[in-house]
């Protein structure tokens, strides 16, 4: 990543530095890949990237070094197909605690690593993700590249951002953020930018490692606290469609429509599902499915299937959801306080499901 393009002392010297340059394929600062890249091309002089007309679709993909991140990235590429989509890849590295290392700042060790020409954990994950985008043809070598750095107190690497701009107006941003915790970093990023969907690649505890690992707590915290749509990616398989769980209230219907719009971007089939606790609630469940179908049709999207069942909603949804790529739930509790004290169906499904869950808002 471009974080390596300057020395540690250079990065520390300035509050923020910006460098815009045209780069060859991959544009990787890592020397290994640089050898494979074609020769540089001079781009026509431009003052700012070209942006396409109309609202753009913004995706935030939060990654670590796990294989789940690779799957989440592939899924994000499918959702982000089309020139109207921008993507941000985010790696959050918890800020180093010099107090825990006996008084010697970890930055001393990190600077030492950088002097050896070694990549730090976050840069490695982002470089790999960027290479994947190039391999998938989602990011082109000829795009304009821009690098920004923000100092973070007590950290030699600080916040780093590399953004790529296509002539068609697509932006892809790779961001290494330093934050007290992973979840706090993701939530801060969500506050600074508006995203249509936030994809959090949740690592299996047995697989994930490193300070920037997105564990269960981090993923669930983001899903609960963020005001927008969050997809917690777990064993994400692309081709099995979205199971949209609806209930007869406005938020649920809106969430269904919201998901249908997202699913249509990757041509994923949408299935509606509602669970009534008993026979008495069956009319409500039927009404929910009918209303959701109507709302989805209004935006020109076809519903691929519908199902209504009676039973425990959480158990039924988890069981049915195993056959789908994503279980889609709406969030009913509006405030963090209520979410904290209420065990909503959405939250229980989020906690207990083994596959991916989207909280649509």
């Amino acid at each position: 990543m471009a974080a390596k393009s300057g020395s540690a002392s250079d990065r520390k010297a300035g509050k923020q530095k910006t460098a815009t340059r045209r780069r060859a394929a991959g544009a990787r600062a890592g020397k290994a890949k640089a050898a494979k890249t074609p020769a540089r091309k001079r781009a026509p002089a431009k003052k700012s990237p070209v942006t396409s007309a109309g609202p753009r679709f913004h995706i935030l993909v939060c990654i670590d070094e796990s294989s789940e991140s690779a799957r989440a990235l592939n899924y994000a590429v499918r959702i982000g197909s089309g020139t109207d989509a921008d993507m941000t890849l985010l790696y959050v590295r918890p800020v180093d605690q010099g107090l825990r290392s006996g008084g010697l700042e970890i930055s001393v060790a990190r600077e030492n690593l950088l002097e050896w020409g070694l990549e730090l954990p976050g840069t490695k994950a982002l470089n790999n993700a960027r290479d994947t985008l190039v391999e998938l043809g989602y990011l082109s070598p000829d795009w304009e590249q821009e690098y920004k750095h923000g100092d973070v107190q007590g950290d030699p690497l600080g916040d780093n951002l590399v953004s790529y701009h296509s002539d068609e107006g697509r932006h892809i941003t790779l961001k290494l953020l330093v934050s007290p915790t992973v979840e706090r970093g993701v939530l801060d990023q969500c506050e600074m930018e508006t995203y249509d969907i936030v994809i959090v690649a949740m690592s299996d505890d047995a697989e994930g490692w490193g300070p920037g690992q997105i564990g269960r707590v981090a993923a669930e915290t983001v899903a609960v606290e963020h005001h927008g749509t969050v997809l917690v990616a777990r064993e994400l398989e692309e081709s099995h469609g979205h199971l949209v769980c609806v209930w007869d209230n406005e938020q649920s219907i809106m969430a269904a429509r919201r998901d249908a719009e997202i699913a249509s971007r990757c041509a994923c089939p949408v299935f509606l599902y509602s669970v009534a606790a008993d026979e008495n609630e069956l009319p409500q469940a039927e009404a929910a499915v009918a209303n959701a179908e109507k709302a989805i049709r209004e935006v020109g999207i076809r519903v691929s299937g519908k199902k209504i069942e009676i039973g425990d909603p959480v158990e039924k949804i988890i069981e049915e959801g195993r056959q789908y790529s994503v279980i889609v739930m709406s969030s009913t509790a509006r405030t963090g306080l209520r979410r904290f004290f209420t065990s909503s169906t959405s939250f229980q499904v989020l906690q207990r499901a083994r596959n991916s869950v989207m909280i649509a808002r």
């Binding site: 107090l99 060790a109 990549e119 934050s179 490193g210």
Partner: protein
Amino acid sequence: MARWEDTRIARLALARSAALGISRLRRTRAPAIRGLAFFLWEKRWFLIALGIGAALLAMPAPESLSRDGWITMIMSIVAIVLFVTEPVPLPTVALMIIVGQVLLLGLDSTTVAKSLMNDSVLFIMGSLMLAVAVVKQNFDKRVAYVIVRATGTKTVNVCVGISVVSGLLASVIGEHTVAAMMLPVAVTLITLTSDDPRQVRRLAAVLLFSICYGCSIASIGTPSGGARNAIMIGYWKEFFFDPTNPETYKYLVDYVTWVKYCYPVFLVQLPFVTAILFLTFRPEYANISRAVVKLRSQIEAGGPMRANDWLAIVLFMMTLLGWVFFSDTVGLGTVAIMGAISFLAFGLVRWEDINSGVNWGVVLLYAAAISLGVEMQQTGAALWVATSFLDVMAPLGVEHGVPLWTAVSTLTAGVTNTMSNGAAVAVVGPITLKLADAAGESPLVIGFITAISSAFAYLTVIGTPACTIVYSSGYLKPTDFLKVGYRMVVVSTIILILAAYFYWPLLGL
């Protein structure tokens, strides 16, 4: 670029640099009630600790403990809760201890201020400055060259080489220094073996743990190996030395005496490190010849030693000799400070590097912890805890000898795994030393056991500085420390007790 405007960067920097427990951005945008809920949740342990403190303060002191002793013990309990849970920056706890001594114990603020600075604290300051100075000399490549020349390409030999060299260095210059120097060596070997971390998970574990456990077991070898050793030497002098009583002169433990008792304990542990690591992780590659050959060629490209390198070695050796020959007269701290001065005076390190590389909050933290420890002793709180501990343990046969040593070792190891080992000795040391008094044991034996056991922080990332530094490489999981750490704790405890039982008596202890 439109999506990362300067104003947003400024807001991000503001939020990030402040490093508050709650995001300023979210706090300003979210409703007040939500912000308050966040704040309360994030600070819950701070509020709980204060609540516990207030409740205990409202209770009467136990009959056998003075009111001041009771207050000091409450302060210790609150400090331990805050050390472990970290709801506020740790130096805040140090500041609270200082304020508590003035407001709750009624001590004069000048008296409290004086209690914050002694030779142990000077040593901590000096050794941290020396650590930055030594790391900045880039000796790591020379050290790596020595290792790969001597060990060949077999993984097991490389690991033995790393743990031996890390240990020998860490025994004199502090484990954080060596961990910071050796980390690039291990990470280079890992990345040269495979770019994919999944392919070298277990190899990474054995190489990185060879560094941190090599450092940890060695840090007890000499007084300069770690702050906790200097703290224990300070406690012996503070609690037991009486200039008018020649019998107490044995409590002035000098550098060489410490080495005689503790260095063999480190050397005996050394072979077990590689054995336990290989038993636990079984690396994917039995031979890493490709990585070693590449590393050798990288290092050889560095060229011969320069005059500055030789000068740095001479200065460090002089500091080491100063510790050996003059620490009993001028103090460990003074020698460490002189070493730092010499590196600065000869321009081998910039003050800016030292200033940014040392976390000065740690100095404050240790100073306050030592001050509280001394207060525990003076108010009788340490003795009360010690006798209460003995009362509880006596029915189980833990009154003296090996059972008591094992209990002290287990207690210290338990505490040190939850907080910095220096802070653990500062807090636990006064109690265990008073325990020795109450149980009729030698305070020197119990003191050595406490100091050495504080290095058994193998179970957690935050246990020792070396563990924290190797974890920052991103190749280890917190559960890895548990997986291998408990075996290390068991072996180290057994070796320590055997040394206390068979070896130390030979030296007259």
